[in-house]
């Protein structure tokens, strides 16, 4: 129930904002604030009520949505099915927090508030939906619906090249969605719902009577061809999609028969299609170029959400869908995948070094940091997967902070070029302190969360049976590069003699550059504190992820 509230309260809020008359301008942001506050409370309740020792899904809620018998094609069944486990819960909590910060960051926005907050709340609901949906169809629905508000938020409230950026974002992501959709349909045709099938086949009277034994026997019936195709209930349920024994014989995604499509193993094709779909989102080099453009054009709060939450859906999709449904592909291509992760780390880091635009620099640093997620996931070790989830949470906090930091100077001067600033340490001492915290946290200083994520993804990749050790050695260059681009930027913007440069007002009375406002501190200080607390007590996250990850890894056990 709590998860449904997480999804539907923002959706209802979005509707309310849309239905209220335009002249209630002052009200919209308060509604958004109230809704996102409720979201944080709900996410906190889910966290508090979560059983850390339980590996499976919790807070499950299932409602039959669409059931349609199609004769020889079996039965179509789409459920409203939500639940969280140790992989999704940290991301749900993260999303709630970042969405709240995003509202605070949107506070001074005056342009078309009604549409803005309506879309914002729609985005909030769909993001939550993505992280808690356990029916692939439902997930895909949320995944697609998330693009819509995002497209408009960049396209309507963005910078000068917003149309190019938003269309690029849309097309890239649409390509990804298309690939995911294709595989989703193929999966659907290949997988049965053992519980419902058992009921249809008459093994048990109703689904509540289904035991593990029944499931095992129905699975063996299926594999031995003893089931009539019209009795097979097809499903989008991720729990069943993740189990190879539920795949119908003679379908082209059956892991046992290794079917060939277009001269290539079908499951490998499907794995790569899904991988690319989510790799665009993460993003992974060379599918990343939408990100810098989207960030540069997006308004600050949208950048915060984009970096803080949206990218994580890519990593989440890897763990929940690509790797879990196609463990054979993930294992077979572990080296290639980890290699792409390493490439992203180094490529993103080097590109960040070359940027003159502060926001673009941070966007590329995101590419680099997300590379650690792929490297950790591809390592197929407990350290790597836990570390990858941790890295997503940590990056969610720190990147939100970094983009807010860009917003602080941009709001004051409408200039994001690094070269336009010098000596800010003396002009804006509080801002400098918080920037230093965000920069050092992001470059992996122990004590902050960034270190923990990088440490364990790297350690996982080093311990991995699947990967050569030199991958890790190359990936550590990312840590060095991060220190280089962050410190170089810090040196250029904050050190040196104070200089107002291009912003010197003619009168000389009114300083353009003033230190942080209370609202800005209210966003930056909690984020910095979270990065510190998580860095000092990483078990806050690992306690949640441990049990689920341990079970998740069973598939990849090396015999």
């Amino acid at each position: 129930m709590i998860l449904s509230l997480l999804i539907f309260i923002p959706l209802i809020g979005s509707l309310v904002v849309a239905l209220l008359p335009e002249r209630q301008t002052g009200l919209f942001r308060w509604i958004a604030l109230a809704v996102t506050l409720v979201e944080v409370v709900l996410a906190g309740m889910a966290w508090a009520g979560f059983d850390k020792a339980e590996a499976g899904y919790q807070f499950l809620q299932q409602v039959d949505w669409i059931t349609l018998p199609l004769g020889n094609l079996g039965v179509v069944s789409i459920d409203y099915l939500v639940g969280v486990d140790g992989i999704s819960l940290p991301l749900v909590v993260l999303s709630a927090v970042v969405m709240l910060i995003g509202v605070v960051s949107s506070w001074p926005m005056t342009h078309r508030q009604k549409a803005y907050y309506s879309l914002y709340l729609l985005l909030t609901g769909t993001i939550m939906g993505c992280f808690v949906a356990l029916d692939f169809f439902l997930f895909f629905l949320f995944f697609e619906f998330m693009l819509l508000p995002m497209y408009f938020l960049i396209g309507l409230w963005g910078g000068p090249r917003r149309e190019y950026a938003s269309i690029k974002f849309f097309l890239y992501t649409l390509l990804g969605s298309l690939l995911i959709l294709l595989v989703m349909i193929a999966l659907y045709l290949s997988v049965m719902d053992p519980v419902s099938t058992a009921v249809v086949a008459g093994l048990v009277s109703d689904s509540s009577a289904v035991t593990d034994d029944v499931i095992r026997s129905i699975q063996s019936f299926l594999q031995n061809g003893q089931l009539n195709t019209s009795q097979v209930v097809h499903t989008f349920d991720m729990r069943y999609l993740a189990d190879g024994r539920n795949y119908l014989p003679n379908t082209f995604l059956n892991p046992a028969t290794e079917p060939i499509v277009l001269g290539l193993p079908a499951r490998m094709l499907a794995f790569w299609a899904i991988f690319i779909g989510f790799a665009i989102k993460l993003p992974i080099v060379p599918l990343h170029t939408w990100l810098p453009d989207a960030h540069v054009e997006a308004p600050t709060p949208v950048s915060v959400i984009l970096a803080g939450v949206l990218l994580k859906i890519g990593g989440y999709g890897f763990i929940r869908i690509a790797w879990d449904f196609f463990p054979d592909g993930a294992a077979q291509y572990a080296q290639v995948l980890a290699g792409l992760g390493v490439l992203s780390i180094v490529y993103g880091g080097l590109s960040a070094l070359a940027q003159a635009d502060l926001k673009k620099m941070i966007a590329y640093s995101s590419v680099s940091h997300m590379g650690f997620v792929l490297l950790g996931v591809a390592s197929l070790t407990a350290e790597g997967i836990n570390g990858a989830i941790y890295q997503m949470v940590s990056h969610g906090i720190l990147s939100a902070m970094l983009f807010l930091i860009v917003g602080v100077v941009y709001d004051r001067t409408h200039d994001r070029r690094i070269e336009s600033y010098r000596g800010l340490l003396q002009l804006m001492p509080q801002y400098a302190t918080l920037t230093a915290i965000a920069f050092f946290g992001s470059l992996g200083l122990p004590g902050f969360s960034g270190f923990v994520g990088e440490l364990f993804t790297l350690m996982g990749s080093f311990q991995s049976e699947w990967l050569p050790g030199w991958f890790t050695a190359v990936a550590t260059l990312g840590i060095l590069l991060a220190a280089a681009y962050f410190l170089w930027t810090f040196q250029r913007m904050f050190f040196g003699a104070p200089w107002l440069g291009p912003f010197e007002t003619k009168s000389g009375i009114e300083p353009v550059i003033a230190d942080l406002t209370l609202r800005e501190k209210l966003m930056l200080i909690p984020l910095g504190a979270m990065a510190l607390v998580l860095g000092l007590f990483p078990n806050l996250v690992f306690n949640l992820t441990n049990a689920t990850v341990t079970q998740w890894l069973v598939k990849f056990a090396v015999e």
Partner: protein, 635 residues
């Protein structure tokens, strides 16, 4: 058996560690005047608690442990461990930090950012204590990086000076290069031993052959932090920080962390790794020594002498002489801090760091002169001073090691190290002459304006000079082997070369005499340039690392914009073109058909209209004919 955490030593260890961090928090809120007092009081308290801990140290090490991260049943704990070596370092760090902070009250009297200065120093002390008390490699790495942050903040303390911010960044990045190796070394250690705990590693490491690469990776950490070849160029630049900081971080304590690391992981170093370490130490001691020779900045001479001495300690570690190296770390901390603080007094007096502007200062700064002379003599390795004892311990160990290796090549190591100690005497004597003898050469500051600083600054200098005498370490002025240090940490084997002491004393006297008599050569001479630019090492970095990296970064950025986005935009354009093509096809082809059909229908309509001419007869005729046709078709 888990130790009771409320025993006195455990409590003391915890409090000592937490004190500076609490101090940092307090200092961020304290007022300027109070800040310096709080800082001094905190470090003083830490020192007293450390003494108390030393007096109550149990036979077994004090261990504090707590879970930090647990991943699928594997725990990575936070462990702190106080043993004799750690407590010794605790005393040292607290003591020097206390003196330096007292000194700073006076030295930075007019500094507006004083509170920030003292709070950074607390961060440093806390991080350093963390390294000392670390019970496993991961904890050590954490505090290791934190020390790097403190160093960054303190080097860049004069943030408005471009050189200071540049030096701060350089120090952090160069250290990171080493730390990457350190981190990989930690991964390797975990891979081979399944633990990072020092106690367990010491047992396991002694029983098995460890891969050389593991030891070398861990040594990388030392190369960065302790400014070993080739990562030594950040240390001279770090002199941009306030002089008391140079004394504390970049001479006495922080740079010694690498040596301490080697002491902790010594059981993991394979024989081959030790040879590499010895060679690197030897190169460093010579490189640093030669670079010190022709420097004109008073602090840079001292910085390079630090590099050189750290190289000497690394040679000690490499030759298996942990005790000798740690002993030298201890004595070096006192006399090098003394030298830096004296240099601070000199800079304070003449407002310049350029030794070419000084001269004849022995008359106006008598106390500083005496303290400086004692410390410099200790550094050079003259008998009756602490430096002599510790240097002889390392040299003796190195000759013993060469003997055991049994090759002539190995013998070259201790010989080179011995020569480098002559070099030390040479450049210290040169500096001594340039600063204190001859005539005063500055044209900007009057000699009469120069005066001794107040007792807050003079006191620490005098204390450090007194502590550089032999008597605190050993009754015998020519050998430390009977002293308390070697009872605390016994030497592995005690080599004795009767000729070593006389030879090295002779070398030191010879070097000192030459340095004192040296005619300053023209600065254009290539050997001077080689020394002043420390072998052009930075030039190599610029050409071989920094510029190619920046070029690659620019290239990749362009790749993003041209190649990848070219494909993306190209695909976009192609789609639009395709759309236009299909629309053309629509207009010409499909629409053509549709229009054609319409046209045909129109023509047919006209045709039929001409048939429908209103005449009943023709209707009937047509109807009958149609009927006939249908009938014919049906039949």
């Amino acid at each position: 058996m888990p130790a009771n955490p409320f025993q006195l030593p455990h409590l003391l260890t915890a409090i000592i560690l937490l004190l500076p961090f609490a101090g940092f928090l307090v200092l961020t809120m304290a007022s300027r005047r109070v800040a310096q007092l709080i800082a001094v009081l905190l470090t003083g308290t830490g020192l007293m608690l450390s003494v108390l801990l030393a007096l109550n140290l149990p036979e077994q090490a004090v261990v504090l442990q707590s879970d930090w991260a647990v991943l699928s049943g594997v725990s990575f704990p936070v462990t702190f461990r106080a043993d004799a070596l750690a407590v010794l370092m605790l005393l040292l760090v607290h003591f020097v930090a206390l003196l330096v902070q007292v000194y700073s009250i006076s030295y930075l009297h007019d500094e507006p950012k004083l509170r920030r200065y003292f709070s950074y120093l607390q961060v440093f002390v806390g991080a350093m204590l963390g390294i000392i008390l670390a019970g496993n490699l991961l904890v050590m790495y954490g505090f290791w990086e934190l020390v790097g942050l403190a160093s960054y903040l303190l080097i860049g303390f004069y943030a408005e000076r471009p050189a200071a911010s540049q030096a701060a960044k350089k120090a952090f990045l160069m250290n990171r290069v080493g730390d990457i190796g350190f981190l990989i070394g930690i991964f390797l250690t975990y891979y081979y031993f399944d633990t990072l705990d020092f106690t367990i590693l010491a047992d396991k490491g002694a029983d098995s052959i460890t891969p050389t690469i593991l030891g070398l990776c861990l040594f990388m950490g030392c190369v960065g932090k302790s400014a070993q070849f080739p990562l030594l160029t950040w240390l001279p630049d770090a002199m941009e920080g306030p002089t008391p900081v140079s004394a504390l971080l970049h001479a006495a304590t922080m740079v010694a962390a690498g040596i301490f690391l080697l002491a902790r992981v010594h059981p993991l170093l394979s024989p081959d790794a030790l040879v590499v370490i010895t060679v690197v130490g030897t190169i460093t001691t010579l490189w640093g020594g030669y670079s010190a020779v022709f420097q004109t900045d008073i602090k840079k001479v001292l910085a390079f002498s630090t590099v050189s001495q750290l190289g000497l300690m690394v040679v000690g570690m490499g030759t298996g002489n942990v005790t000798g190296a740690m002993f030298h770390l201890l004595t070096h901390a006192f006399f090098k801090a003394g030298l830096f603080l004296s240099a601070g007094a000199i800079i304070h007096a003449v407002h310049s760091q350029d030794m070419r502007q000084m001269g004849g200062l022995r008359k106006v700064l008598p106390t500083t002169f005496i303290a400086y002379t004692i410390c410099a003599a200790a550094l050079s390795g003259l008998p009756f001073l602490s430096g002599f004892l510790s240097k002889e311990a390392i040299l003796g160990g190195a000759f013993g090691w060469a003997e055991a290796q049994g090759s002539g090549l190995a013998l070259s190591i201790p010989v080179l190290v011995l020569l480098s100690s002559g070099l030390t005497a040479f450049y210290m004597a040169r500096q001594w002459r340039l600063v204190f003898f001859g005539t005063y050469r500055s044209e900007t500051t009057l000699l009469s304006a120069a005066h001794e600083p107040g007792w807050l600054m003079r006191g620490p200098v005098v204390i450090l000079a007194v502590l550089s005498l032999w008597v605190w370490f050993s009754i015998n002025p020519l050998s430390g082997s009977g002293g308390w240090f070697f009872r605390l940490l016994p030497l592995a084997d005690e080599p004795h070369f009767w000729w070593l002491a006389p030879v090295s004393i002779a070398l030191v006297l010879l070097g000192g005499w030459a340095g004192f008599r040296l005619q300053e050569p023209n600065a254009d001479r290539s050997y001077v340039q080689l020394s002043v630019n420390y072998g052009f090492l930075d030039l190599f970095y610029d050409r071989l690392a920094i510029r190619p990296t920046v070029r690659l970064a620019t290239f990749l950025n362009r790749t993003d914009q041209r190649a990848i986005d070219g494909v993306v935009n190209g695909a976009g354009v192609a789609t639009v073109v395709l759309a236009h093509l299909t629309s053309l096809l629509d207009r010409v082809g499909v629409d053509g058909l549709v229009n054609g059909a319409a046209w045909l229908a129109g023509r047919l309509g006209q045709l039929t209209r001409s048939v429908q001419n209103g005449r009943v007869q023709s209707y009937i005729t047509a109807a009958v004919m149609g009927l006939l046709v249908i009938l014919w078709w049906l039949l």
